[in-house]
Each structure stands twice: as structure tokens, then as C-alpha cells.
Symmetry: C2
Subunit: 162 residues, 2 copies
Amino acid sequence: MGHGNSEGTTLRSDVGAATAADAGFTAAATPAGELSAGMTAWKQRYPDLAACPIRTVLDRLGDKWSTLIVITLAGRPHRFGELRRALPDISQRMLTQTLRELQRDGLIGRTVFPTTPPSVEYALTPLGTTLLGPLRELVRWADANQPAVEEARRAFDGRLAA
Amino acid sequence: MGHGNSEGTTLRSDVGAATAADAGFTAAATPAGELSAGMTAWKQRYPDLAACPIRTVLDRLGDKWSTLIVITLAGRPHRFGELRRALPDISQRMLTQTLRELQRDGLIGRTVFPTTPPSVEYALTPLGTTLLGPLRELVRWADANQPAVEEARRAFDGRLAA
DNA sequence: CAGCATCCACTGTGATACTG
DNA sequence: CAGTATCACAGTGGATGCTG
């Protein structure tokens, strides 16, 4: 895989040093500033942080299969059985359940062909497709930095043992 | 919050239509193609999909607090008590536990000041800071599309009741 | 083929109480 | 202040068997 670069990652050295004073200009320019400002805004809009957009999205992406299913469907629509074969270690129960959740959230569509035996096709909706952009950034990061994360884990665990 | 646009989302109409034939050129250009190709590559590199980079990253981001903590630290370093106040409904246990995980993954650093009483400061590491870029994209998507997702949910639930 | 129902184990999460 | 330890519980995920 050759896309493990860090292109697109706006890394600036002033990240931890920006004060509230220059937030008007800097905040929107750096990821750190924008995220920090957004966080502040959420805490005023949402009584409990549990309802903020981050949760709405990540509670889904964070489960065991949703993201892998979305990525699989990014290539082309799949039938139920195809998905099952594409995700070898998923149980039928979790596949059905996760597909329902994704459908409920409007990210994927379900089309039934009333043949015998019946066949059902799942595909990304336009909304689901717009998620692929942000998702790709995250996947790139994961792909590029997995070695660093794993080394950090080894170092951390090693320090405990010593 | 004024950044709820869809800027940066490379949405193309050929998403579901790309075949393997033009993958050499198209695949790397669209999020769908790149994700799809990456998925194929993982399945060869990782015996079980459970070990793929997506999991390594999302298992962490997907838990209840990690992302909120990272975003909070994006602004500036925080002490333990500060974090607790910044995340009103987090329990002490989960704060400690999540901070340890993030530290283990090398995303945040922990600095102890041996004063009395002791104080401990948490801050993003350089590695953790590079995550802010991808994370921002995801947060933008969440922020922009939360209404659409919630409407889809209502529509789905309504259809069941009818 | 696609999917539902049931039972069960594990893990994540939280409340509470205690400590250097 | 910044934790650790213990207990209890709910949600998630998996195995199996059955159905239109």
C-alpha cells in the first residue's frame, strides 16, 4: 500500500501555544484551534456532552464493524452474502444488526429484489458517500501511524515490566 | 458554530461505478477507490481483519471519552482536575483509565510535578497532534451532517411504527 | 438466500470508598 | 490533588437453531 504519507495533515508548531487572544484568526486555521473552539461551542449548545455530534458519529464508527462495512461498500454495492464473505470473521447476527444501524442512520440503502430465493443489496447512500472523505483521512492516519502507536505501546508496557 | 460546511469533501458521481479496470488511475483519486483498494490490501497483509489499522485506531477513538479528551487537550495542556471539570459527566475512574490508554498509545504525555499536593499535567504529544487533522475532518462531517442523520433516524423509526 | 430469536460470555462503564 | 481498588451492571458481540 503506497498511500501512507502524511499529506494533508496541517501540523503547526503553535498548536499548544495559541491563547484565547488570537483565537479569532488562528482558531479557524489550525485543527487544534478549530476543534478547541468547536468543543467550547458544543458545551453551550448541548446540556450534556453525551449528545454532541462527536458521539452521534463516533458511537457508530467506533463499533466493531460499521467502518469496515462502509469501506467495503465504498467499492460497490454488495449483497448480504457477499458482505459476509468479505468480512470473514463477522457473525451473521452482527452483520444484520450493523447493517440495520447504518440504514437507520441513512448511511446505507437496502434494496430487496423479490426473486426466489430473495436477494438484498446494500449500497452507500449519498450521505454515506460524503463520509468517505473524512474517513479516508482517518484511515490514512491509521495506516501511516500504526507502527508508531504499536511502538509506543511496547515502550509503555516495557517500562512497566522494568 | 460557523464551520458546518462540506468543504474538503471530495464527492464524485462515479463513486459506485468504478470498476477494477480503471482502478489504476481512479482508485487513488477518489476516497471510495482509495478506501476500497486499501481494504483489499489489508486483507492480504493481515490474517484477520481484527488487526487492521482501522481497528487499531478506531477501537480507541470509538470509546466513550478518548476523542473528547483529545479535543480538549488540543487547546492546551490540562491538569487532571481541569479535565474532570471540562468533561462534566465523566467519572474519575474512566478519566484515569482513558488517559492511561491514550498515554500508552503515545498520543498524550503525562508530566508529574512533585509539589504538595502533587499535580499532573496531560498534553498532546507530536503524534497525538498529527491526529487532529483527520479528526477535524470527521468532526466537521459530524457537525454538518448530524441533522441529516437524526432525520434519517426519525424517518426510519417512523416507518416501523406505521 | 437473507434474516430473526434465544441464550450466553465478555468487556466497557459507573458508583463508591479508600490512599500517597 | 491525583489517583487505586472493589463491586455491580448494561451493552456488545458471538454461537446456535429456526423461518419465509
